[in-house]
């Protein structure tokens, strides 16, 4: 076997390793029920859940509890299947949090009742979609 072949096999081996690890470490989008099922099976890998904040009839966010030292909070989220879930986030409440239209939480169930988010992505009313023009100063 020539040296070139050995190197070639080596490169392919590393590339395959990379592909396997990418697939293995890739997270998935789940609903709260499938996420809970995973957690029950003992799979504690962080997953993505997409949903909205729970709101009352007047469109106000309900179920937001901020810790006394303001460095963490718990909120209620409704996923795309309509399942409600309490989520804990170990950071102060982001300032535009209650205005978010869609929310993606990345994390896992740490107990039966509590989903702990490691990271939160928020989709806020984008300025590109903003059609309301301030009419002041006409």
């Amino acid at each position: 076997m020539k040296k070139g072949h050995i190197i070639g096999i080596g490169i392919i081996a590393v590339a395959i390793l990379i592909i396997i690890s990418s697939i293995g470490d890739a997270s998935t989008y789940e609903s709260f029920s499938t996420a809970k099922a995973l957690a029950v099976k003992g799979d504690s890998k962080a997953i993505h859940v997409v949903g909205e904040l729970k709101k009352d009839a007047y469109g106000r966010v309900v179920g937001l509890q901020v810790e006394e030292d303001k460095t963490s909070f718990i909120f209620t989220m409704v996923d795309n299947d309509g399942i409600e879930q309490q989520v804990y986030y170990n950071e102060p409440v982001p300032a535009d949090f209650v205005r978010t239209e869609q929310i993606v939480v990345i994390g896992s169930f740490k107990s039966e009742e509590m989903f702990v988010a490691d990271k939160i992505l928020m989709k806020c009313p984008s300025k590109y979609q903003e059609t309301e023009v301030q009419s002041a100063g006409m």
């Binding site: 990379i18 592909i19 962080a46 102060p92 994390g107 509590m114 992505l121 009313p125 023009v133």
Partner: protein
């Protein structure tokens, strides 16, 4: 009044630029195939058309900037990307905040590069400029803004707001012009955002040059000659792109709240990957110049670089990343166009390369392990694998999009812990690279066999071991992984320094580019290892939480709550939050908010006290002062160590109506580390909800607790002047003097009570820091008592995070050395090319 002239001029220039780009390509094509007799006239014509293109590109940029500079908010671009409060240098950032502006920037750079190539090349001009003109045509089409039926080509930056918005106001009054724009994203209000995008886009634009030379070489059957003119440009491109990446990283470090310079965000990855491949291509091109091997590899790598730049643009700008990135652009409906742009050049390049593949000279010789070609090849392969490892997961959203296009469902998401995931591969690849550069440089400069290699490496090896041991002991690096990184980094630095010294002694400095760049790499590696590996959050909460819930066991509180004036203990420091400040134009440092009264005018305030700094009075009481971006507040955080005052930081925060709380950290820079302080949450006291009234009846000299503060009532005093109020004959004004003690602060609060005839007036005091409002309600002279009404809100506070980043300066120094090495190499390679050209060989 709506000004439509500038917009029409801009739009006309866009159309002209598009047409002239296509015409340039055609003219240069005719020039390339014309007979010697006709060549001069075709050349003259082609150049003239390109100059027209250049002029119209400049006009586009001018028109857009005119719209922003003159606050023409009738235009959508100015309305949505700028505002009146912006200083001129941030208007420049507004220019490229939107995608259209970014494309204009790209067009502009390509145009400049095209002009330079026309001036510096002889034989290559024709075919190279065809590629240039085609790329320009594609880029200009992105801002064309032409709608044919349902087909929209490009998104024009010269749209009027009334044509974009369907706000009802335009039905009533089509000539309505908004008074102010919605402003520039506050994160981009930073000096690095003024220079980072132009640098990055020059980097993007310059990757076209080697690609164009390659295409020209393949089309004109100069299968290997293209390397000489392409090489200096490839190095230039790598340097500029590298500089752009570093500036972006530095910007993220000083302004963003991610707490680091690199976050493995898809947008960052999209630039990092082409850069890696570009660097690999430089190495194989240099090998080819030395020993006529690796030509095919070079061709593949140069094509990949250019296509990856287009792929990066597609990822970032097509909206496909969606949720996956914190800072990708929204879809402007250009994804189809971007895809065509990328695929066109991909297929054209693959076609040309495949057609000439069998004519491309290869070397039959099997590279020996003791040859430099072997080591360079392994290095280039490592770089390519690094790129592959990053681009694969970054493309997961693209993969999902493709699956969904064929009706499937894919729920793959990018790795949840991006930093951990990428680092675990990239770090070890980087270690391999560092080792390869160390060994490779010896092969590069000397003929080697097993014995000479051993001799050459012995001294650097011993020095490396000694240095590594010293660093490990002094810096307490006890993690085996980090030890390996230090070893690899030091080995690169030592080995390349050895070579550098040899070069400087024996030959000229212009050969030193490679070893300098590699020394930079070693330093970057060590800098990253310390600043990221030993980065430590020091704002862990030491308040002693009374209970913890089960899921909190493995979570560390990374933020601390600081009440104003109350010392709070963090790891090595005690910190005190002292209140909010603003920046005032012309005054060094910061000015306390309680010294300023806001007005209805943007960025204008009235001084409530004399404003002085460093013993000099800048503004008198009552002066109107100009604020630097009044939305920005600076929070004064004092740091103490062993009860001794050390320093003060002023992290910035801005409650933004569209984006929430925007914070920029402030860092204390030590030679060996940075202490990074960042605001995570603030008290919103703009419109406080006062709690119910509390009543106090107290005599002068008495002490009471007002809203939990020890308060001394020093007494009342009749005054003859009341600020903002004209006293008449017979009026009585009484001021009560309360001293509130808050930790080490003594704060005087002086509410006023007025009597005119049978009417009374009360001027309360509001203290936002303490969160109290005190009103002198009544005076009972017979009992010698004063009646106060107190309303509470909340003491001011901030929630902040503090981090230590050790030895980050090694990282920055390493990048500067690396960029300097690139510059030296550019000079050398361009010198080689121009000598050959002047001999008439190119």
């Amino acid at each position: 009044m709506i000004n439509t002239f500038v917009g029409n001029l801009g739009h006309f220039a866009v159309v002209l630029a598009f047409v002239s780009a296509i015409l340039t390509a055609y003219a240069y094509y005719r020039f390339s195939i014309a007979s010697e007799l006709e060549k001069p006239s075709w050349q003259k014509f082609s150049r003239t058309v390109f100059y027209v293109h250049a002029l119209s590109s400049v006009t586009i940029a001018f028109a857009l900037f005119e719209i922003i500079y003159n606050h023409r908010f009738e235009y959508f671009y100015a309305y949505s990307h700028s505002s009146k409060a912006l200083p001129v240098h941030y208007m420049i950032s507004s220019f490229w905040e939107g995608q259209e502006g970014a494309f204009i920037l790209w067009i502009f750079w390509n145009m400049v590069l095209g002009l330079i190539l026309i001036r510096t090349n002889k034989a290559w001009e024709g075919p190279v400029m065809i590629v240039f003109a085609l790329v320009q045509a594609f880029l200009v089409s992105m801002i064309l803004g032409v709608v044919i039926g349902d087909l929209k080509i490009g998104s024009s930056p010269f749209m009027l707001l009334r044509d974009v918005s369907n706000a009802p106001i335009f039905q009533i009054n089509p000539d309505f012009v908004p008074a102010d724009g919605t402003g520039l994203n506050p994160l981009l209000q930073n000096i690095w955002m003024v220079i980072h995008p132009p640098t990055l886009f020059l980097g993007y634009a310059s990757t076209l040059v080697p690609f164009a030379f390659l295409m020209a070489g393949l089309a004109t059957k100069k299968y290997s000659e293209w390397i000489r003119p392409a090489l200096p440009w490839a190095i230039f491109s790598a340097m500029i792109l590298g500089m752009g990446i570093i500036m972006g990283a530095y910007w993220a470090y000083v302004t963003l709240n991610f707490g680091g310079y690199w976050n493995w965000d898809p947008v960052e990855n999209a630039v990092y990957v082409p850069w890696l491949i570009l660097v690999a291509s430089i190495h194989t091109m240099i090998t080819f110049k030395k020993s006529s091997t690796a030509l095919k590899t070079s061709i593949v790598l140069v094509i990949s670089t250019f296509i990856l730049v287009l792929y990066a643009t597609f990822l970032v700008r097509s909206g496909v990343l969606g949720d996956a990135s914190v800072h990708s652009f929204t879809d402007l409906g250009l994804s189809g166009q971007l895809l065509i742009y990328m695929l066109f050049f991909l297929f054209a390049a693959v076609f040309l390369a495949a057609k000439s593949w069998k004519h491309i000279p290869t070397s039959e010789r099997e590279a020996s392990v003791y040859s430099r070609e072997f080591w360079i090849f392994i290095g280039a392969t490592t770089l390519a694998l690094m790129a592959f490892q990053v681009i694969l997961p970054t493309s997961i959203p693209v993969f999902n999009a493709i699956v969904e296009m064929f009706g499937g469902i894919s729920n793959m998401a990018p790795p949840a812990d991006q930093v951990g995931f990428y680092t675990k591969f990239q770090l070890w690849f980087a270690v391999i690279l560092a080792l390869l550069t160390a060994v490779g440089q010896f092969f590069w400069w000397n003929k080697m066999d097993g014995k000479t290699l051993k001799e050459a490496l012995t001294v650097p090896y011993i020095i490396t071991i000694l240095l590594t041991a010293i660093i490990i002991v002094l810096a307490k690096v006890y993690d085996i992984r980090f030890m390996v990184i230090v070893l690899a980094g030091v080995f690169t630095i030592v080995a390349n320094s050895t070579i550098l010294i040899k070069i400087l002694r024996k030959s000229s400095f212009k050969l030193a580019g490679g070893s300098l760049a590699h020394i930079g790499l070693g330093m970057i590696l060590i800098g990253i290892m310390f600043s990221s590996g030993y980065s430590e959050v020091i704002s862990t909460n030491l308040s002693g939480l009374t209970y913890k819930r089960e899921w909190e066991d493995d979570l560390n509180k990374q933020n601390v709550l600081l009440w104003v004036n109350k010392p709070t203990q963090m790891k090595d420091y005690d910190v005190v939050y002292r209140g909010r400040h603003k920046k005032v134009v012309g005054v060094p440092g910061y000015v306390r908010v309680n010294k300023l009264q806001t007005t209805d005018d943007v960025n204008v305030a009235i001084a409530l006290e004399d404003i002085s700094a460093k013993g000099k009075v800048y503004h008198q009481k009552g002066d109107k002062v100009n604020l630097v971006l009044e939305e920005n507040s600076y929070f004064e955080i004092e740091y103490y160590q062993d009860d001794e005052y050390k320093f003060t930081l002023f992290p910035m925060s801005q409650p933004n109506p569209t984006m929430g709380l925007i914070s920029s950290p402030d860092s204390k820079r030590f030679l060996s580390k940075d202490l990074y302080t960042h605001i995570s949450a603030i008290n919103d006291y703009e419109d406080p909800e006062w709690k119910e009234d509390e009543w106090y009846e107290i005599s002068p000299g008495e002490q009471v607790f007002i809203s939990d503060f020890v308060t001394n009532f020093e007494g009342g005093e009749v005054i003859t002047e009341v600020e903002g109020f004209e006293l008449e004959e017979g009026d009585i004004a009484v001021k009560a003097k309360l001293i509130v003690l808050d930790n080490d602060i003594r704060k005087p609060l002086e509410p006023i009570f007025l009597i005119r005839g049978s009417q009374v007036g009360r001027i309360p005091v509001i203290d936002n820091d303490l969160g109290v409002k005190v009103t002198l309600e009544n005076i009972l002279p017979e009992e010698n008592k004063f009646v106060f009404k107190v309303n509470r809100y909340q003491k001011d506070y901030v929630v902040m995070k503090a981090m230590v980043k050790p030895h980050i300066n090694i990282l920055w120094a390493g990048t500067i050395i690396m960029l300097f090495g690139f510059s030296v190499a550019i000079y050398r390679r361009y010198d080689e090319f121009s000598k050959m050209r002047d001999k008439g060989l190119e």
